[in-house]
């Protein structure tokens, strides 16, 4: 039966939809669960707090989704966040730059850090785990140098990103959400996105099909650095300061969010929309547990368990769908 293939009957799309629904159900379940346990959970204040807290995490997770799809990893995003914020603060405080050029500088610094990570790992064929581990330390050191190891107050120079925009929600949130959809379109509708998925699936096959994987790898890391830089600006806008310690350990939260969203650490599979769900699940979990008055250690234990369980469920689901 040589089937003439009607367009758009893809089982892939159906399973993609299944993942959206699955993650949305988990999220809804968590909201209802926390809502029923804490009378304060269902309040505008709660959701506002979540919305204004997640943009930095979300934009970094968008970049990390691409990195994981090409079977890489970037541990340096938290340090790049602090370094970019420090660079922007330095420009404002030391060199008396305007907000916009300073912000631009922050983004360029992030881009350069990411591109450097990507280039080193491609040029010397090193695992990105190692290179970005080195960057995690080195760039954090750079942030201390730029800030003189002190929190630098920038006041309202970056306020444009933190200002309430609609119903008290900051513009950063809207920027992050728009980025999620743009990234998803890039991943699924562009040649670049196809190459990214292909390289994560089988790099040698891509090379032998005439695609040079190196520039694409570097580009993915560069974009991730850029987005970490943006996250840095969002943080310093919210805190009105560049803290050299900000973003410490956030890389693990970012990776957790992406993995909860079903992106494979082995590469070749992932979705930015699902990453959005992953970020929301982590944020709701944190907010809900905090409202219930769960202590910080218990919060971490529970979050850790949720991450592993989410990945187990995803693995089982993948097995079932590939068996079918």
């Amino acid at each position: 039966m040589t089937t003439s293939t009607q367009s758009n009957t893809p089982s892939a799309t159906r399973s993609q939809l299944g993942t959206y629904l699955g993650l949305a159900a988990v999220l809804l379940g968590m909201v209802i669960f926390f809502g029923s346990l804490s009378e304060y959970f269902f309040s505008a204040a709660t959701f506002l707090a979540i919305a204004n807290e997640i943009p930095a995490l979300l934009v970094m997770s968008v970049g990390m989704t691409f990195v994981l799809i090409i079977a890489g990893i970037d541990l340096s995003v938290g340090s790049v966040l602090a370094f970019s914020a420090a660079a922007a603060a330095n420009a404002i405080l030391q060199w008396h730059w305007g907000s916009l050029p300073a912000a631009l500088l922050g983004l360029i610094v992030g881009l350069a850090c990411g591109a450097f990570t990507g280039w080193v790992s491609v040029a010397w064929r090193l695992p990105s785990f190692i290179v970005s581990l080195g960057m995690l330390e080195a760039v954090r050191g750079g942030a201390y140098v730029l800030t003189d190891s002190r929190t630098q107050y920038v006041g309202d120079a970056m306020a444009g990103l933190a200002m309430p925009w609609v119903a008290g929600i900051s513009s950063a949130f809207f920027i992050a959400v728009v980025l999620v959809f743009v990234a998803q379109i890039v991943l699924t509708k562009t040649v670049f996105g196809r190459y990214v998925v292909g390289i994560g699936t089988n790099e040698e096959a891509m090379r032998l099909a005439g695609i040079n994987p190196k520039p694409i790898r570097v580009a993915v890391f560069a974009v991730t650095g850029l987005l970490a830089g943006l996250a840095g600006l969002m943080q310093s806008a919210r805190l009105e300061a560049a803290d050299p310690n900000s973003g410490t350990g956030i890389e693990l939260q970012v990776i957790a969010a992406v993995v909860i969203g079903g992106t494979s650490l082995m590469g070749g599979r992932g979705s930015v929309i699902n990453t959005l769900f992953g970020v929301l699940i982590i944020a709701v979990l944190e907010a809900g547990l905090a409202q219930m008055g769960v202590s910080d250690p218990s919060k971490r234990i529970i979050t850790g368990c949720v991450i592993v369980v989410a990945v187990i469920i995803d693995t089982l689901r993948q097995k079932r769908s590939s068996a079918a």
Binding site: T2, P10, V191, F192, A209, G210
Partner: protein, 523 residues
Amino acid sequence: MQPTHPASKPVLTINDVGKTYVTPVLQGVSLNLHPGEVLALTGENGAGKSTLAKIICGLEAASQGTMTLAGHVYSPTSRRNAESFGVRMVMQELSLIPTLTVAENLLLVDIPNRGRWQANWIDRDRMNALATQKLAKVGMQAIQPEALVSQLGIGQQQMVEIARNLQDDTRVLILDEPTAMLTPSETHHLFEQIARLQSQGVAIIYVSHRLEELKAIADTLAVLRDGKLIQVCPVNSVTEDDIIQLMVGHSVSQDLDRPRRPRGNLLLSAKNIGRGNLIKDISLDLYAGEVLGLAGLVGSGRTEVVRLLFGADHNEHGEISVFHNAPGLPLRAKVKKWAEPLAAIAAGIGLITEDRKSQGLLLTQPIRINTTLSDVGAVSKAGWLQRAREIKIVDALIQRLSVRCHSMEQNVGTLSGGNQQKVIVSRWLHRNCDVLLLDEPTRGVDVGARADIYAELEQMAQSGKALLMVSSDLRELMQMADRIGVMSNGKLVRIFERGHWTEKSLLAAAFNDTHQQMTPQAA
């Protein structure tokens, strides 16, 4: 049938053994093996040598027939089980752990312990002493038991592997192409040790297609062809020519005689390309409308040649030129070597790799994505994928090659081998390259899909493409090719024109090391 050891009782008797996967690969093989006998098992690529060896050493179960070992019924359930009966095999790929010492490798399953609970501390002195004993048994006292395996040469590693397999109770030792990676002096040493084992009463099955070696060390010769045992005889009763004749058989079917395709313009010319010791000084020309076959034994360098022509590996010498398919037009490309496959593809070359799963396909991605991969530019505009266009193109290619699938969104990994190969062929049709290099294009492809692929290749040749086809299946080459180049030991020893070859002459050229009277001849 086996006059060599009329007196002694056979240690291993093989009775009507066969193996069937989809089609039978081994049929009705019966053999006797005596203590102290060296039996050479030979035949063409795919004749069933390895299958038979694997059945004997317990890696594969026979589909029919029985075996007897020293008078008892012998049907090993696993390699471990076979080893417990004293039947061991030294595989072509060594199974040593390079980061451990020689002694640790030799005693891996039974490392001597000491200490109160017999399970805590490795008794290094005893382990090294035992290892030295084992090494002495194969005459390799020179190897330090504390040396890391990775520090040894390939030949020494081979001897360690043999020492590991030579327990006191070894009755049958199978060596699968043991000299494939050895230097002449290492080979010589190996032969000395084989003679020594032989005198200790070990029965040896020596799998090889190096005729010269067989003559040197074997007592008995067993020739397989198409899964059947053709002849068993004392090795000194036959000449090397006889052996080739036995391997080939007599039937050269007439349907292979068809006219040569008309030769078009020169499209690709490689001059004296080489790489290390693997590939020496290859020159060949590919013409529009023509299929050049590339024959040779496994390991003769065929795959390496096509990889150089495609830029998957870099040649160290020589030059590659590509021409437009029209007289008078300037060169399309002339390079010392391709920087990347990308450059070769831009010059109109395509490659279907030998291993489609690891080097060809994105197994977890749909047919659609796998098909257009060679030219995503053709289904996109300014970086944006044009889905409708892509669907139309892929649909047409699926129809053209009769790919059996539910839809073009089906993951390639779930297709049969033949349909996977069709997807790869359609990938290069999508690219519309002028020169297509095919490395074992029908390996693991069922008969039906094979016919579809041949038909497509025929059509490509007719439309003026130049094809270079590497295959271990001589009949396939004799059917498809207009010229057949034969490789041996990294050299292109001869190119036959259609009508001037016989299966025997092709094989003789492939066994070139033993047939120096063939005049080597560059393209």
